[in-house]
């Protein structure tokens, strides 16, 4: 997942949570970057027709942006599920965040063939816990460390 997708995913989650445009400050906080960096990327997303900036309000994703964001969120869910249920990683949230930039959608789709994801994904994503709400974390068969 590239950096733009990580931003789209974050903006989507924030705008859903706030039920309106996402402020640059909330996006920067969620991504742990400076507001200047967030502004720069938001500008790029606007140029690509994926987001719209509303003055004094914040950023809202376009329909294309929402589609991409939902794909990115789904990829993130797949990585979390894979880590938790196949590899038995306890810190699957932290690791998913570390790994998401290196795991491409096509790779996630292959991993998806061996995990049991729910049909409502990615609507099952819970921003408070930063994880899929349907994810059952059981002691997995494989522990690697």
């Amino acid at each position: 997942m590239n950096t733009a997708d990580q931003y789209l995913k974050t903006i989507y989650v924030v705008q859903e949570q706030e039920d309106g445009p996402a402020s640059t400050g909330s996006i920067a906080d969620a991504l742990d970057v400076s507001p200047a960096s967030a502004n720069e990327m938001i500008g790029k997303l606007e140029e690509r027709g994926l987001a719209e900036h509303e003055k004094y309000k914040g950023v809202r994703l376009t329909d294309d942006g929402i589609l991409r964001a939902r794909d990115a969120l789904q990829t993130y869910c797949i990585i979390e599920r894979f880590l938790a249920n196949v590899l038995g990683v306890e810190e699957f949230r932290a690791e998913a965040r570390e790994l998401e930039a290196v795991i491409d959608d096509t790779v996630a789709e292959r991993l998806d063939t061996i995990i049991d994801r729910q049909p409502e994904c990615p609507d099952c994503f819970d921003p408070e816990t930063d994880a899929c709400a349907c994810l059952e974390v059981a002691m997995a068969p494989v522990e690697s460390e």
């Binding site: 970057v33 790994l99 930039a101 096509t106 790779v107 292959r110 408070e128 068969p141 690697s144």
Partner: protein, 164 residues
């Protein structure tokens, strides 16, 4: 929402080992699906596709061993093949290809996905200035060799698909 880091670099041995484990799982998925294809259309499988699947399974096993040797040097365990095989078994019904074209297409996806994975992994390692326990040159050499073999695999499957 919890803060996420926007980084595309690999910062530690643990992160590297985890990515190599994912590589192993991808290879195991290829191997297990190739076995399934054999079984699924056993009676009608023609020689060319059979040879292609056998080569793919053998190549995946070889890649897996090379990745296993890297992560063993990092002090991390591999992911047992039978675990992955049983997961493929459990989910296979939902995603199995319908016919020869489907099998070839599935195989193409496998090779392309593996290529993309190694390509991204190599790029992320190259961008990282972290010191790993294992020799960086050996690591990159191994991964580049595997990537080249995946690229060959993509060409081979594409060639068969175009001819048929």
């Amino acid at each position: 929402m919890v803060a996420v880091s926007v980084s595309q670099r690999i910062a530690s041995d643990d992160q590297l080992a985890r990515l190599l484990q994912i590589g192993i799982v991808l290879e195991e998925v290829v191997e297990a699906r190739a076995h399934h294809h054999y079984r699924g259309v056993e009676a009608d499988l023609d020689d060319e596709i059979e040879a292609l699947l056998a080569d793919a399974a053998e190549e995946s096993a070889d890649h897996r061993e090379r990745l296993e040797s890297l992560i063993a040097d990092l002090g991390v365990d591999s992911v047992p093949f039978d675990e992955i095989e049983s997961l493929v078994d459990a989910r296979y019904g939902r995603t199995k290809p319908e016919d020869f074209d489907g099998i070839l297409y599935d195989q193409l996806c496998n090779e392309e996905t593996a290529y993309k994975f190694y390509d991204d992994l190599i790029e992320a390692i190259e961008a990282s200035d972290a010191e790993f326990t294992i020799d960086r040159d050996h690591l990159l050499r191994t991964l580049r060799t595997i990537r080249a073999e995946e690229a060959e695999g993509v060409s081979e499957v594409t060639e068969v698909m175009e001819r048929r």
